[in-house]
């Protein structure tokens, strides 16, 4: 009884200490201007003219764990000049300079370079585009939602041993996050898993109605489907970290420079294919790059393969049903001849033949 009481009090102490330790007191790290004073309320929001409800809550805990934790609110939301501020109408511009200086850099940090390369790519909005196309084209925030900005947990590398050395001089907190952020991008092309990349691109490119309004070619129309049927797609769907996803082939290390394949700088252009394939297939040659990656067996495009596939399927069914028919016929006749379906003890021919 006494022991149980002791145990109970002890566990209550432990629970209290645990709760106190884990509940954060450091939510307002980047919030120098105290924006969270209002935005911390969970239901702070507005109902616009169309009756749509918009929530302006910012979760401080989540924000302090995101990549942008050191960027203060007004570095991005630049049009806010006074408090309480006017309704925000302008979108955030990721090309802004924020007041964070990367090590050894003269200028403040900005995403401008990547945005320039993105604007040149096929996804950038061009003046000659039709209105539907302009509307359909994604911008930064379409793909880069904040949840994805959260820190990456790299499980495949033994970073703890390496980190232990860094922590001899550096502060544990900062260097851990920086190291995880860096090594992940050094090892992989993107911070997202291949599965996330595929599902992200599929979001638009699988949308047949949208693609129809944009009048894309047949190849682009079926691109997601053909990818999912290729060995790259199948391996990625099952969680492969090595097989190629969309970005692996369609973009260089800039990640945002996706072009149509007739564009000279496209990674999937005929002249650049060798370099692109070489990232994984070390022995790439002129003939290898002719192999179709987004392969589709179509009656009009590949008649020989189409009929071969049809013939093989027919042969499969004929074989299987032929053999199973023979098997059942044989079993029927042998049973009729007096064979018993039982565990053998010397012989199984115990019945009388009815033939």
């Amino acid at each position: 009884m006494e022991a149980t009481k002791k145990y109970l009090t002890f566990s209550i102490y432990v629970a209290v200490v645990f709760i106190v330790l884990t509940s954060g007191f450091r939510a307002e790290a980047a919030d120098k201007e105290n924006c969270l004073m209002c935005h911390k309320y969970r239901f702070i929001g507005r109902i616009d003219k169309n009756g749509k409800r918009i929530n302006y809550n910012v979760d401080g805990h989540m924000y302090t764990k995101s990549v942008h934790r050191n960027v203060s609110c007004r570095d991005c939301h630049t049009n806010i000049k006074k408090l309480p501020h006017d309704p925000v109408t302008e979108e955030v511009n990721c090309a802004n300079q924020c007041h964070v200086k990367p090590p050894f850099a003269e200028e403040n940090f900005s995403h401008k370079k990547i945005i320039d390369s993105y604007n040149e790519s096929v996804h950038g909005v061009k003046s000659e585009d039709s209105p539907e196309l302009q509307k359909a084209k994604p911008y930064c925030k379409f793909c880069h939602l904040n949840p994805i900005y959260t820190r990456v947990d790299e499980k495949r590398i033994a970073y703890e041993e390496t980190l232990a050395r860094c922590q001899n001089c550096h502060q544990k907190n900062g260097v851990t996050q920086a190291y995880k952020h860096m090594t992940h991008r050094l090892r992989h092309k993107t911070s997202r898993s291949p599965q996330e990349i595929v599902s992200l691109c599929s979001k638009c490119h699988q949308d047949v109605d949208l693609m129809k309004t944009l009048k894309v070619s047949d190849v682009s129309m079926t691109a997601v489907e053909t990818y999912n049927h290729s060995i790259h797609g199948k391996a990625v769907a099952l969680g492969s970290q090595e097989a190629a996803d969309c970005i692996s082939c369609h973009a260089s290390n800039t990640l945002h420079d996706i072009y149509k394949k007739d564009h000279a700088t496209a990674t999937v252009n005929k002249d650049n294919l060798k370099t692109t394939c070489k990232q994984c297939h070390k022995n790439t040659n002129d003939r290898f790059i002719e192999i179709a990656v987004h392969s589709r067996i179509d009656r009009n495009e590949k008649p020989a393969l189409f009929f071969a596939s049809f013939g093989l399927k027919l042969a499969l069914f004929a074989t299987v049903f032929g053999l199973l028919g023979l098997l059942s016929l044989e079993t029927y006749a042998r049973k009729k001849n007096g064979l018993k379906w039982q565990i053998r003890r010397g012989t199984t021919w115990r019945g009388e033949s009815k033939r």
Binding site: A235, G239, Q241, A243, K302, L316, R344, R355
Partner: protein, 328 residues
């Protein structure tokens, strides 16, 4: 020195040419009725030798790797089905499953090469000794077609007895040829999936070795219809999957049922482990091989003589040279 037993022998041999002959005469035993398998005693572990230890090892290698190959390969192929993620996690993820698939494939290729070595080597050895009999091998013959037709007639009730078949009956020959073909296809298609860079070059180089007329005629068609390596790669993808699914279905539904589940073999035929076949099975489906066994194994001959005497099928008249005056 002529004996009357020889005379009887010649007589019965003449009549045994007829296909449906109920009795088969064997020297020193007399007439063996076709349905003697209904009366023999059999040890489920097997009474008569059928496969050498090499074949047993090869079969073991092939069947273990086949399960692994099918499990990894089918999961990778049907990646969009609900069970695929669970099975793939058994193998430690997609990348590990691909590695395991390749290792298992290498073992299976080894088994195939081992098999070819033993088969060709063993046949050569027998040829040198003068013991080679093509009827006791897997080489297909016209007789197999006749056997199949005869057997189907028997199954439907138009014939009284099953055909007298050799060591390998039509089913086994069919399956063996299918394995030869399927293995070749799977190895070629699989290696072109594993080494696409090399095969793309080989295929395009191979065209140069074709006769010039063929190239002239077909190069335009080929260029119009499909670029060469792309076609071969697509074809390899198609063939590898199709051949694998066919093999899996045939093995799972036909082969397994035939060897383990049908009456007479249920619940397990031990041949694949012991390399021996039961007497009743041998007589029923491989009667001609059983006749060979009687020649080769004295114990078997003694057993059969005793059985025939018990059942009253033995030599009707026991004749010896000394008895001759008394009989005639």
């Amino acid at each position: 020195m002529t004996t009357s037993s020889e005379a009887i022998a010649i007589k019965s041999k003449d009549t045994s040419i007829a296909e449906d002959d109920y009795f088969t005469y064997v020297d020193g035993l007399g007439n063996i009725p076709r349905d003697i398998y209904r009366h023999v005693e059999s040890d489920p572990l097997g009474d008569l030798p059928r496969y050498s230890i090499h074949i047993v090892i090869q079969h073991f290698l092939v069947f273990t790797t086949f399960i692994v190959l099918a499990a990894t390969g089918m999961t990778l192929h049907f990646s969009d089905l609900f069970w695929a993620p669970y099975v793939i996690s058994l193998f430690g993820g997609a990348d590990m499953a691909r590695l395991i698939h390749r290792i298992a494939a290498a073992v299976m290729v080894f088994a195939a090469v081992y098999h070819l070595f033993t088969i060709i080597g063993g046949s050569l050895l027998k040829l040198l000794k003068g013991e080679f009999d093509y009827k006791r091998t897997q080489i297909p013959r016209i007789k197999d077609v006749h056997d199949l037709i005869h057997d189907i007639k028997y199954f439907l009730g138009f014939k009284d007895y099953r055909p007298k078949m050799d060591k390998f009956m039509y089913k086994q020959k069919l399956h063996y040829l299918a394995i030869l073909w399927g293995n070749a296809v799977l190895i070629f298609a699989g290696s072109s999936l594993l080494f696409p860079e090399i095969t793309a070059r080989i295929y395009s180089e191979a065209v140069k070795f074709l006769p010039e007329i063929l190239v002239k005629v077909f190069s335009e068609t080929i260029a119009n219809l499909w670029p060469l390596p792309a076609f071969f790669q697509d074809f390899a993808r198609l063939m590898h999957v199709d051949e694998a699914i066919m093999a899996l279905i045939v093995v799972a539904f036909w082969h397994l049922t035939n060897v383990h589940l049908v009456p007479g073999r249920f619940p397990l035929q031990w041949t694949f482990l012991t390399g021996r076949i039961t007497r009743e099975h041998q007589i029923e489906e491989h009667f001609l091989e059983y006749i060979n066994n009687l020649d080769e194994i004295p114990e078997e001959k003694a057993y059969m003589r005793k059985l025939l005497e018990e059942k009253g099928f033995g030599l009707r008249v026991k004749v010896s040279v000394e008895d001759l005056p008394r009989v005639y």
